[in-house]
Symmetry: C2
Subunit: 436 residues, 2 copies
């Protein structure tokens, strides 16, 4: 086998980054692999825009199907995004016997099984390092570096937009809306930021990681998902007083043959490394039986960091092509015959620590009413803070709990919010603190 | 090819960890690879000691050469350490066409070229993930995940013993000797701790990383190496006042076609993630053209974390054997024909920021004398702190400098230490601060 020909579908931000590395680091890549990787075709609707790159004559075309049907192309790089056309193109590329690289987390999280089965049936590789955590080598670490480990948990900051917004609220005490507007102005948040701020993007990623980490089928719908839009500076301030920071975490654990997979704002100890991951950066902590804990940190998004991960996949697949070792590493860490259906715990079954904030009338007996209800549901209070600051005649009452069951917590809070001394919907933030 | 047979040389702490994973996670490993990995032979001088493992009859033997000469064994795992017997056994294994896994950083740093050339000539793989950073997948990240990047710098905390001692001095203000004694009592430091505390172990590791990161030959003797035994609580206290922590860093950068490779106690900003790496933990930051910065964090030593890295190498080599893809990834990231000889900068040529502490008589004109000498050598002072605390009639005078050349700094300090108003050898600690 001589040189490797690749075809790129979609030349937006990350696609352009991939093209740039393939063109500008062409000689470097040859020193890695021993042969050239040729960017043979690039398909995009817009072939006029100046991308700051010098493509050879005829490389840029508008018809993506022409690329996946080109018999000279060995590897297809899908950078279109979305779930319909991208899926169709990937399946066509697989059908044509091509190796596929994608960063399409939404597609993988919702229809990964279909793609994985199609690739396995055809005997081609499907690589997706860039779908989670941008440049952090999380897929490779789970599939290769931790091959001798049973993965126990994965906890990460996997969305740079949310982390930027939370960092800004924390540092400046500004409201969520101001921080979001700033994120949009900086280009860190989309005009429609829903996918990021409501936690969906993070849910896609933890669904993929759970599949990889535990060797299980992916079920996006089983991932509990709660975003950051209701986080108030006041709660971040209280968190700080208790020695916590608030981060949007993706949390997955395997406990007694069942998997937890959830995304929500979470208080974590300020000394924790994850607490110190600021701005648009991402990080993930993996616990496993042999390594104990390891952490990866880096840019989870952005043109060049994400492109770097895509290129690492291209290099892997190119090496497999050159050495005839396609299929060398099973897509989901374990051989297909060992992929399990592991039950995912309903959110109601989760047991964790909680932070509650109630807006209560500043009146004797209020605390006793609230704690009475909590007690009846078996929720044990670890500490209570009642602040003198009044707003509209009510004061914030803040409580941290010992480990409690989510279902009990929800019932108790519903009951408490019905009390006439409680003037607003109670705030609930889960705590992840291994010290307790 | 059916099952994979491995032979383990040396069953000390890490060797036992490797055996434990191969035995206890035998089924897990089969789900990863699709076939069993058999621990066929284990050679150790002591075959009586209870290692808490059930070896099959005849597995434990005393003669390591019997293992490397056993034609049924596919992969040799060298866990003996040291530079003479280990080297001989590895070369014999290579000669016999076996794949080799080692964690022997001293051997790799001093005689890596010989081993790499022998493996290349014979067409076998030589893997050494566990030689640097324990369970952190640093070798895989450099060789595979960053394949599309030009590596620009690597800065890490790569010795858990030193990091434990420095953390202890920082947290408790105790003298170095007390912290070392505690590290020894906890089993984190050897009875003879020289290799760790004088920075040699770290030098071995950065030599290996520089070779991998830049695709170059490196001579361990070119790595400037300074340990932590002269670090005083007083300097850690001053560092704190300037917003710094002191860590033993391995620093390597490539600047204008030349490489820096140095190990020394270093002040880094307290908000830096590396500052928050405490106790025996390790971490490394890699800067590269596409990814920007990434960081890996985890246990850099210890039985099971290191064994996990060894097992990841075994899995890689087993997959190469099963798929006939030995040699798939070049040992030093780049094809042998592209390995360069890059000049390593002499320490005198380094330009960085400095912290100085002088013990000076509390007398008018002292500061002017000291700063006069610094000025003559072109060393520009960024800030000066003169503390009122007297010891033996002298006061500490602390200075931070702008970027200066090491050779000039040394000459200036020699001259300053000759002043009659300066009562002790000046203290010099380099600063790594990207903000400036």
């Amino acid at each position: 086998m001589g040189e490797i020909n690749v075809g790129l579908l979609g030349c937006g931000t990350v696609g352009t980054g991939v093209a740039r590395i393939l063109i500008e680091n062409r000689e470097l890549l040859r020193t890695r692999i021993g042969t050239y990787i040729n960017l043979k075709r690039v398909a995009d609707i817009d072939i006029q825009r100046d991308r700051g790159l010098q493509f050879d004559e005829g490389v840029l075309i508008t018809d993506a199907y022409q690329v996946v049907n080109d018999p000279s192309i060995d590897i297809i790089i899908e950078m279109i995004g979305g779930e319909s056309i991208a899926k169709d193109l990937i399946l066509k590329a697989i059908e044509n016997g091509k190796q596929v690289v994608t960063a399409n987390k939404a597609l993988l999280a919702s229809q990964g099984q279909t793609l994985i089965r199609a690739a396995a049936a055809k005997g081609v590789d499907l690589a997706f390092e860039a779908s989670v955590g941008g440049c952090m080598p999380i897929v490779k670490t789970l599939r290769e570096s931790l091959a001798g480990n049973h993965i126990e948990s994965m906890i990460g900051i996997l969305n740079g937009t949310c982390n930027y917004i939370l960092t800004k609220i924390t540092d400046e005490g500004c409201p969520f809306e101001t921080a979001l507007a700033e994120a949009q102005a900086q280009g860190y948040a989309e005009a429609d930021p829903t996918l990021d701020i409501e936690g969906l993007d993070t849910a896609h990623k933890i669904a993929i990681l759970a599949a990889l980490g535990y060797g299980m089928e992916i079920n996006l719908k089983d991932v509990y998902t709660e975003g950051i839009s209701r986080i108030k500076p006041l709660d971040i301030e209280f968190a700080d007083q208790f020695g916590y920071k608030i981060k949007l975490l993706a949390i997955s654990k395997i406990i007694d043959q069942a998997v937890e997979a959830r995304v929500h704002p979470t208080m974590i100890p300020s000394h924790d490394l994850l607490s110190n991951v600021s701005g648009t950066l991402n990080a993930i902590t993996i616990r496993a039986d042999a390594v104990g804990e390891i952490l990866l940190y880096g840019h989870g998004a952005g043109m060049m960091p994400t492109a770097s991960a895509v290129v690492s996949d291209i290099v892997d697949l190119a090496r497999n092509l050159l050495f005839g070792s396609i299929g060398r590493i099973p897509t989901l860490s374990s051989q297909t015959s060992h992929i399990k259906k592991i039950p995912v715990l309903a959110m109601d079954e989760i047991r964790t620590h909680y932070y509650f904030r109630f807006e209560a009338l500043d009146r004797p007996g209020v605390l006793s009413k609230i704690s009475g209800i909590l007690g009846r549901y078996g929720i044990s209070i670890q500490s209570v803070h009642q602040k003198g600051r009044k707003s509209n005649g009510s004061v914030p009452v803040v409580m941290l709990t010992h480990r409690a069951k989510e279902a009990d917590v929800r019932k108790a809070l519903t009951e408490i919010s019905g009390l006439d001394v409680v003037s607003a919907q109670p705030v609930l933030i889960r705590i992840e603190d291994e010290r307790e």
